[in-house]
Symmetry: C2
Subunit: 363 residues, 2 copies
Amino acid sequence: MAYESFRAIVPAGGAGRRLWPVSRQVNPKFLHDFTGSGSSLLQVTVDRLNTMADEVVVVSGQTYAQVVQEHVPACAVLAEPLPRDSMPAIALATAVLMIRYPREDLVVGSFAADHHITNREAFEHAVGAAVELARRDEVVTLGIAPTHPATAYGYIHPGEEHHTEAGVVAHRVEGFEEKPDAQTAATYVSQGYVWNAGMYVARSHVLFDHLRRLHPDLAEGVWEVAQAWDSPRRREVAERIWPTLPSVSIDHALAEPLAPENQVMVVPADLGWSDIGDWDAIGSILSGQDPRAPVVLGQSSRLTTVDAPGAVVAPSKQVVVVGIEGAVVIETDDAILVTTRQQAQQVKAATEKLAEQGLDHLL
Amino acid sequence: MAYESFRAIVPAGGAGRRLWPVSRQVNPKFLHDFTGSGSSLLQVTVDRLNTMADEVVVVSGQTYAQVVQEHVPACAVLAEPLPRDSMPAIALATAVLMIRYPREDLVVGSFAADHHITNREAFEHAVGAAVELARRDEVVTLGIAPTHPATAYGYIHPGEEHHTEAGVVAHRVEGFEEKPDAQTAATYVSQGYVWNAGMYVARSHVLFDHLRRLHPDLAEGVWEVAQAWDSPRRREVAERIWPTLPSVSIDHALAEPLAPENQVMVVPADLGWSDIGDWDAIGSILSGQDPRAPVVLGQSSRLTTVDAPGAVVAPSKQVVVVGIEGAVVIETDDAILVTTRQQAQQVKAATEKLAEQGLDHLL
């Protein structure tokens, strides 16, 4: 189900530090097969988009651009000189596409490289509806139907209802909310708010017009880099301008200021979505029917448990877990992480502590 | 402070499975330096006894008799053909000593190879008092003043008080109690019961006379093996008789039946004692002033913790512990144990599970 002149952008930049020690700076989350699919998260993401988009463009860091290209040989890979969060990356890909295909009225969609979606049909319907609304000059986001009052995600407040031509229900966005505390999260869920998964769809011209108006310096800098991209001057221009651009997400740069202007719509969707945010999420994705069964990434005979239901373990040596519910034990060549699924969000803090200890080679 | 004609016996047989994966069948607990002393537990035990005893005899399994001899080159090492618990081992050493020194009126004392004692002066006083009482034909045990209502130890019920010549208080033993539940343990502690650490002192003739009366077959078998010990027939006789002997501890074989006969005395002592029974005990021994400080067996820079007070970690790779109080992470070349100090007693069950999985090479 290909949507005409629809091109997908995949910013592949996040290190995924909560999935340390498997996810590393030089071998980040999206290059790993955390879901047991046989492909890296990036490959699965690109495969999912390829059925709908004329092209998938991946924006990646210079350090791993080459290995990214090896993962997705059919994609255009744009290598940022420096990480600058999602807005510059998405804007660059949009501008390069606009310059490469000047006669097309492009709709671009941006999707994270490292999320998990089980309900592919629902995803295609939602993207189809988003493309249709984008053609009417809306900036469109996909909202995830919450399965629980999560505190790890931002929320989208859906307002007035619209029906697309394809019969999909969309909403005008009243506002974007930051990650809430537990009580606020419960209120949001009861009021029909949806999770913000950072998926945006818009006409390239609409996106760039908003950017020029709200962040003129950013828009101008990105455009200059994009104009030099397919020329011998790419490196010189990119290295001069890119470091001067602000690090800002598309949520902060565009979605949040556009919502009060009634310029954003949300398509709620039940995608079986996970951002694979920590080892607990991986446990949930891989645990199957029995949530108390252990999850082994690798050879299951390498795990022995006593009174340790719901363990998530990546062993290379024999790992024995005794008396810890939801234990997480992740072993790599040079490090061992021990935590619980409940505490798994704190792994990021541990990586910061490793940096303080001068152990950057482990990051 | 040497006691005349006093010889010490150290049965060194226990595998120390609760200290897996460091303690192994072929390299058991007593051969390791778990207390950071620079010597193995066996060496420290022998050093402690050498100041008091004319000789220290170690009874060990055949598989590690050679390495035991290397640890304690000055000791006589008797190698059992098969493990048969403490009574046959102590009886064999006693009989061999009686035959080797027929003109001496020996007092023998039996002490575990793998216990920790910080108050050496109190230990020497208590052993001195026990030797004095043994010369009066008592079977004497040292009782540990409890520091908490432990459920991991047997208890001794002290009765009528006696004062030794050296001014040490001893008691007639009313009875020996098995490991109690928590409530019973609290009652025992409030009633002045002491812990049974399995340390026994007696005249060799008294010990053997009791054994002949209570377990004639055992006494006769051991005596036959002992008579052949220092002859070319040692191996033939030992391999024929030893397997026929029952596996029984000195507690069950002698101390428990002798208590109702008023034949046992206890010398209570505050030794700073630990049986180093599990990884929690090692944490307590090594933690120093601050019980929330992490304990690292090895290079302390190899541990990084976030919200994990009281962790006990033996790392070779970098170990990162997040959000588990009292976490225990023990890494060896071929295995990783993950538990908590509270659950550390269950490690033995884990080793049984490994055996069920056919992973005997890890035991």
